[in-house]
Symmetry: C2
Subunit: 249 residues, 2 copies
Amino acid sequence: MISKNRISQIRKLHAKKFRDESGLFLVEGYKSVEMLCASDFEVEEIFATENALTDNAVWLSSLSPTLVTAEEMSRISTMQTPPELLAIALQRQSLPDIPAEQPVLALDHISDPGNLGTIIRTADWFDIQHIVCSPDCVEFYNPKVIQATMGSFTHIHVHYRSLPEFLKQESTYRRILGTFLGGEDIRRFEFNRNDILVIGNESNGISAEVASTVTRRITIPTAAQGRDTAESLNAAVAAAVVMFRMTGC
Amino acid sequence: MISKNRISQIRKLHAKKFRDESGLFLVEGYKSVEMLCASDFEVEEIFATENALTDNAVWLSSLSPTLVTAEEMSRISTMQTPPELLAIALQRQSLPDIPAEQPVLALDHISDPGNLGTIIRTADWFDIQHIVCSPDCVEFYNPKVIQATMGSFTHIHVHYRSLPEFLKQESTYRRILGTFLGGEDIRRFEFNRNDILVIGNESNGISAEVASTVTRRITIPTAAQGRDTAESLNAAVAAAVVMFRMTGC
């Protein structure tokens, strides 16, 4: 059972303002809730439909979920097709330090939640465990970001910091790579284990201030010759292709 | 000026049924309309706001656009933030044959329009000019697909065919590659110029019937060792990483 008051409390978490104030966030769908429960995130409450309980009786019953109707679920969920499972969890209070010997991804004003979520999922696959977002990136706890990570939000540490400051500091002992047209071809570029890779905004690329901290400019070459081609790659796709090369054996 | 009747005609094109019946589709936003006009697609009508006319007077006036108010644009557009420019164009009546010596992408039940659009954009970048979609893939002329291609819908030929049939036929003279867990590592795999790459559904991967036509199983290895990682990559990301290797010099 869930009260009307509780429903409206949960619906408030659809908005960043209330997520910030409460320090809570929503996790929706089987896979994401399953990975949430297997992680060190603290879970406040889990809501399950009858269907979810029937399909996952053993696993779910140990979590004492609150039973809701499909209609109640559709009210508390942010998804167009409401999930069978939804959890409220506590945002992390602190993040581990960024190790000097590990690769890092720096995101300069990534604004699409699907892109940020996909980048986090891909970073997880390629073992880049720390991502530093500029303050104007979309919020990590946005439900669409969490959704698009497919559970990888539990594995990857996403920091929010002023990028020019952070990158200037880091550049004293490691390289800052940025993707630009006309840079060095990533097929032949020799990556170092602890490079930082900067990915720019979907429309405007890397901002001038951040660009000035980049120590090596790299490029994913187009294969098309002698014809008009795409002018650029999607930000999550570009990030993925470079991460593939960066973390390659 | 645009009549109420015309507005409701255009709004019908938001639905696949009416796109199919009329053979028309919508193109929204500066970049996409610009690339549409530079292509061999036949354009039926262009709608522009006052803003668009002010910003692009020279280019636009040669196209004799219909002037609409911002409010009218928001009614005919499918976008949450309505564009300044929208065009109605004719769907292609026919597509060129698929050359035997070129690489091809085969998409098995890609259902997310953003993924299909991003895959088309990436294929354009890596010069894979023919994509064969299974009939249950999302529709090429879906406005969200067109949008996500960022204009590459004008460069790439997207066919819809039964994949098992098409792939069986093609496999008599070229290889059919499919991405699976535990396949050959793409970092060391030797690609041929005319390989066909199969990408599977976002949740279920490559279907059993299509999988039976695959002649080589390949894998994008995860870089993470000794910890839980993402279980898979986003379909558009996986396609991009393999295309990068496939079309590499």
